[in-house]
C-alpha cells in the first residue's frame, strides 16, 4: 500500500515537472510574435474558431464540442486558444474527435499560422498528415456547387428548404454529377423522436455534424423520396478557395454545433464554411434571428460574379407532370392502363404505336409506379414487382429513351421576394376608418408574389398587425399569427395527395355587443384541391375543418365546432392574382353559435420586393376593407 502511494506520488511529481517545463525558446518566440501581431484579433482566426461577439462584448464560439478547442478557455478566449494551438503544434499527441496530432486535426489553423508566422521547419518540423492528404485528394475537387432542395411541407425541418455543398470532380459531366461528394450539415436526431422533434429542434436540443454523403444518396432522398425539385448553383471558387474550404471542412470533423432550426441550421453553417473559403465574403452577419435557406441562396446569388451557372434537377413528380404534357389522349389512357395492370405493357394497342412512343408511354408508367411505391409503404413491394414487369417490356424495345428537357413549375429561388414583410395601409371596418401596420417575420402566403417559391404552399410565422380606429379612437393589436400553414396538392388522374391547413392566431371580432374583441383561435382542415388552365392557372380547394375559439365575447369564454370552406385563386395576369374563399362553421361546444365568412383579396406585384393588396373580409357581423402597400425585406 505504502509502495503504491509512493509510486503515485512519484508519478504526480513527474507529471507536474513535465507541466512546468518551460516552453522551448522557439515556441516562446512564436507566442511573442503572435501577440505582437495581434493575430488573435484577426477576422480569419475568428472565422476558423467560429467566434461571435457576445452580449457582453467578448467572444463566444458557436462551436460546442470541447475537443475542437485546445485550450480549456478556448470557447470564449481567442488569445488563449491561439496560444494553446501554437503550443500543441509542437506535440504529436492525438487531439480532437478525429484523433490526430494538432497539426493534422486543425490543418487550416496550421496553414494560416504558418502563413503569418513563417514556421522554421528546423525548429517546428511539419508532421505528415496522410489521412488528410488522402482525403482531400479523393475529392478530385474542381469546383463547388451550392445545392438547394426546395421546400418539403411534410417535415417541419425542411419546410423552408435545405442547402448543402457539392464538391464537383475533375472530369465530371452532367451525367456523372451524382458521383461527387457533398458537404452536408445535419442534426443528429435519434430514431422515433416524434413530437419532441420540432421542440428540441427549435431550442437547440440536437447536435449537428458535418458529413460527406455522396450526392447520389441526396438526390435519391430529395428527388425520389420527398419529391423536391433541386436547384444547383455553381460557385466561382478557384483552386485556393476550394482548398481552404476543404481544409476547414476537415477541421469541422472535430466539431459539433447545437442545431437550431431557425438560425444556426444547415444553411447558416454552410455560409460560415464559405466565408472561410473566401474571407472577402461577409455572409453570416447578415442573419440576425433566423437563417432561411432560400435567403442564403438569394444572398449568394446577389454577390458579384459568385454564381456562374444554375442547373435544375426535377423531382419525380415534376418529371411525370412534364412528361405527361407530351402524351396524346390515347397514350395517356395507355399509361393509366399500364399503371393499373402491368400486362397492358404487352397489349396490342400499345404495340401498334411507333417504337419511340411505346418507350415513352412505358417510361412515364414506370416513373409513376415508382412514385406510388415511394409514397405508400404498403405498396412498395408490389410496386417494385409491377415496375419490373413494365421495365422488362421496356427493355425488349431495344431503343434508348429520347432526351426531353424538363422545365420547372417554380421559378428559381433567387428571383423570389425576401422572406420578411412589412405592410402599411388603411381601410374601413363597419362604420369606422382605420390605419394599419403589419410586420410578418416569415415567409410566404398564397397571395404573395409566387416566383421563387413552391407553388400552392403557404407558411406564415410570427405576424402582428397594429391598427388605429379613427372614430373609436382606439389603437389595438388587430391580428396576430403564430403559424398559418396551407399545403395544397392539386389532384388529378394520377396524383391524389390530400391538401391540409393549420392556423394558430388571434383576430378582432364583433360579437354579442362586444365590439373590437380579441379572439384566439386554432383551426385545422383537410381537403382536396384541383387546378385548371383556363386563363393562366387557377387552383380550387375545399376543406373540412375544425376550430376552437377563446374570447371573453363568448358565453363560457369559448366555443368549439366544425364546418367547411372552399375557394380558389386565379392569376388574372402575370403580376395580378385574385384569391376568394367562403366558409361556414357551426360551434356545438361552449357557446353554441355559428359563423359565416367570405373574403376576396387581390395582389398586384410592383417589383421583386414590392406589392399592392386590396382585401375584403366578411366574418359574422364584421365587414372589413383593407388596402396596403407591402415591402419584403
Amino acid at each position: 500500500m505504502q509502495l503504491l502511494t509512493l509510486l503515485l506520488a512519484a508519478c504526480l511529481w513527474a507529471i507536474s515537472v513535465q507541466a512546468e517545463e518551460p516552453p522551448s525558446p522557439y515556441l516562446s518566440h512564436l507566442l511573442q510574435r503572435a501577440h505582437d501581431a495581434h493575430l488573435a484579433d484577426e477576422r480569419e482566426w475568428h472565422l476558423l474558431l467560429h467566434y461571435r461577439v457576445n452580449l457582453f462584448g467578448g467572444y463566444t464560439s458557436e462551436q460546442d464540442d470541447p475537443g475542437f478547442f485546445l485550450s480549456p478557455e478556448g470557447k470564449t478566449d481567442p488569445q488563449a486558444e491561439l496560444d494553446a494551438t501554437l503550443t500543441q503544434f509542437f506535440s504529436p499527441e492525438l487531439v480532437g474527435r478525429s484523433k490526430q496530432p494538432a497539426q493534422c486535426a486543425f490543418v487550416a489553423r496550421y496553414a494560416w499560422l504558418h502563413d503569418r508566422l513563417g514556421f522554421d521547419p528546423g525548429q517546428l518540423p511539419p508532421m505528415p498528415c496522410e489521412r488528410f492528404e488522402r482525403w482531400i485528394e479523393e475529392f478530385h475537387a474542381r469546383s463547388i456547387t451550392l445545392v438547394f432542395p426546395s421546400a418539403f411541407m411534410n417535415n417541419p425541418a425542411s419546410m423552408f428548404g435545405h442547402t448543402l455543398l457539392r464538391i464537383d470532380q475533375e472530369g465530371q459531366t452532367p451525367q456523372t454529377r451524382i458521383l461527387a461528394y457533398t458537404i452536408n450539415f445535419a442534426a443528429d436526431v435519434p430514431k422515433d423522436e416524434g413530437l419532441a422533434y420540432p421542440v428540441r429542434g427549435i431550442f437547440g436540443g440536437y447536435s449537428g455534424y458535418f458529413s460527406t454523403i455522396p450526392y447520389y444518396l441526396k438526390v435519391q432522398e430529395y428527388r425520389d423520396m420527398e419529391n423536391r425539385d433541386i436547384w444547383e448553383y455553381r460557385l466561382n471558387f478557384g483552386e485556393p478557395q476550394i482548398r481552404r474550404l476543404l481544409m476547414h471542412a476537415w477541421e469541422l470533423g472535430n466539431a459539433s454545433f447545437d442545431y437550431f432550426f431557425f438560425k444556426e441550421n444547415c444553411s447558416y453553417h454552410l455560409l460560415s464554411l464559405l466565408e472561410y473559403a473566401d474571407p472577402s465574403l461577409h455572409l453570416t452577419e447578415q442573419f440576425g434571428f433566423w437563417t432561411i435557406p432560400a435567403d442564403t441562396v438569394r444572398l449568394l446569388a446577389a454577390q458579384p460574379s459568385l454564381v456562374t451557372d444554375i442547373a435544375f434537377r426535377p423531382s419525380r413528380v415534376t418529371l411525370i407532370r412534364r412528361k405527361r404534357e407530351h402524351l396524346s389522349v390515347s397514350e395517356h389512357e395507355l399509361v393509366r392502363r399500364v399503371v393499373r395492370d402491368a400486362t397492358a405493357a404487352q397489349s396490342e394497342e400499345l404495340r401498334s404505336l411507333p417504337l419511340s412512343r411505346q418507350a415513352f408511354v412505358l417510361d412515364v408508367a414506370s416513373d409513376y409506379v415508382r412514385y406510388r411505391g415511394e409514397r405508400d409503404e404498403a405498396e412498395a413491394a408490389s410496386a417494385r414487382v409491377h415496375n419490373r414487369q413494365i421495365l422488362t417490356a421496356r427493355s425488349l424495345l431495344r431503343i434508348p429513351s429520347e432526351d426531353i428537357s424538363i422545365r420547372p413549375f417554380a421559378t428559381q429561388p433567387d428571383v423570389g421576394h425576401r422572406t420578411s414583410r412589412a405592410s402599411l395601409g388603411g381601410g374601413w371596418r363597419n362604420n369606422d376608418t382605420f390605419e394599419e401596420i403589419t410586420v410578418r417575420a416569415a415567409y410566404h402566403d398564397l397571395l404573395d408574389p409566387e416566383p421563387g417559391y413552391t407553388p400552392d404552399a403557404q407558411i406564415e410565422v410570427g405576424s402582428l398587425s397594429l391598427r388605429h380606429y379613427n372614430r373609436a379612437e382606439q389603437t389595438r393589436i388587430e391580428r396576430a399569427t403564430l403559424l398559418n400553414v396551407v399545403s395544397l396538392s392539386p389532384i388529378d388522374g394520377l396524383f391524389h395527395a390530400p391538401s391540409w391547413k393549420l392556423n394558430l392566431g388571434m383576430q378582432t371580432i364583433t360579437h354579442r355587443g362586444c365590439e373590437l374583441c380579441s379572439n384566439w383561435s386554432v383551426n385545422g382542415g383537410i381537403g382536396a384541391s384541383a387546378e385548371t388552365h383556363l386563363l393562366r392557372r387557377e387552383v380550387f380547394f375545399a376543406f373540412a375543418e375544425v376550430e376552437g375559439n377563446y374570447s371573453r365575447a363568448y358565453e363560457e369564454r369559448h366555443r368549439i365546432g366544425g364546418g367547411a370552406s372552399a375557394g380558389f385563386y386565379v392569376d388574372l395576369a402575370e403580376r395580378w392574382r385574385l384569391l376568394a374563399s367562403a366558409g361556414y362553421l357551426r360551434y356545438a361546444l361552449g357557446e353554441q353559435s355559428d359563423d359565416v365568412r367570405w373574403s376576396v383579396g387581390q395582389r398586384y406585384t410592383l417589383a421583386q420586393n414590392w406589392a399592392l393588396r386590396l382585401e375584403y373580409n366578411h366574418r359574422d357581423h364584421d365587414n372589413d376593407v383593407l388596402f396596403t402597400v407591402q415591402a419584403f425585406f
Binding site: 474527435r97 478525429s98 484523433k99 490526430q100 489521412r131 488528410f132 488522402r134 482525403w135 479523393e138 459531366t173 452532367p174 451525367q175 456523372t176 451524382i178 458521383l179 461528394y181 458537404i183 452536408n184 445535419a186 442534426a187 443528429d188 436526431v189 435519434p190 430514431k191 449537428g208 455534424y209 458535418f210 458529413s211 460527406t212 454523403i213 455522396p214 447520389y216 444518396l217 441526396k218 435519391q220 432522398e221 425520389d224 471542412a249 476537415w250 477541421e251 469541422l252 470533423g253 472535430n254 417510361d363 414506370s366 415508382r370 415511394e374 412498395a380 413491394a381 417494385r384 415496375n387 419490373r388 421495365l391 422488362t392 421496356r394 427493355s395 431495344r398 431503343i399 434508348p400 429513351s401
Partner: protein, 169 residues
C-alpha cells in the same frame, strides 16, 4: 486498364459475397459496415435503400458513416467510400434507379456506373445497349441482387465484342 478494373471488381464482388455470409451473423467480426448494417438489419434487401435514406435523412447515418475525419467505419474511411467498395456500394444504393435506366437504355446512374467501372465515355452507348439487352439476366430478386448485378455485368462486358475491344486495346 479496363481488364484490371473488371478483375478488381470481380474480387470485390466475391469478397462482398463472403462478407454477406459473415454479416448474416451480427457477431462475426469487422467487415464493411455499410453492407453489414444494411444486410444484417434489414431482412429484405429491396428495402435497404429507403432504410439507408431514412438514416441519412435524420443524420445518424450521415454523421457516423460519412462523418468527416471520423476514421474508419465499415465501408468508409474518414467519411469517404473505400476505393474497392465504390462500385458495389453504388450498385447497392441505386439499385432501383440503375435497373430502370438499364431497361430504358440510358441515364445518369447508368453513365455513372459505367464511369466507375472504367468504361470510357465514347463506349457508354455500347454499354447502355448491352445492359438493356441483358436486362432480365442482370436484374434478379433476392438478397444478393446488387452484388449479382455487378458480377453479371462484369461478365457481360468482358464477353461483349465491342467492349472487349476496348479491354484488349
Amino acid at each position: 486498364m479496363l481488364r484490371q478494373v473488371i478483375v478488381a471488381l470481380g474480387v470485390v464482388a466475391v469478397a462482398s459475397q463472403a462478407g454477406l455470409v459473415m454479416a448474416a451473423n451480427p457477431d462475426t467480426g469487422p467487415g464493411c459496415g455499410l453492407g453489414k448494417l444494411a444486410w444484417a438489419d434489414y431482412k429484405n434487401q429491396k428495402n435497404i435503400a429507403p432504410q439507408v435514406m431514412m438514416a441519412t435523412t435524420n443524420g445518424t447515418f450521415g454523421s457516423g458513416t460519412f462523418g468527416i475525419s471520423s476514421g474508419t467505419s465499415g465501408c468508409t474511411n474518414d467519411g469517404q467510400v473505400m476505393a474497392d467498395q465504390k462500385t458495389t456500394m453504388f450498385a447497392l444504393l441505386n439499385f432501383e434507379n440503375l435497373t430502370q435506366e438499364m431497361a430504358q437504355g440510358k441515364g445518369e446512374h447508368l453513365a455513372s456506373l459505367a464511369t466507375l467501372m472504367g468504361v470510357p465515355s465514347e463506349q457508354h452507348a455500347a454499354f447502355f445497349a448491352l445492359t438493356q439487352e441483358r436486362y432480365t439476366a442482370l436484374v434478379q430478386d433476392g438478397e444478393t441482387a446488387s452484388v449479382a448485378l455487378v458480377k453479371t455485368l462484369n461478365d457481360a462486358v468482358s464477353k461483349s465484342p465491342v467492349l472487349a475491344q476496348v479491354v484488349s486495346r
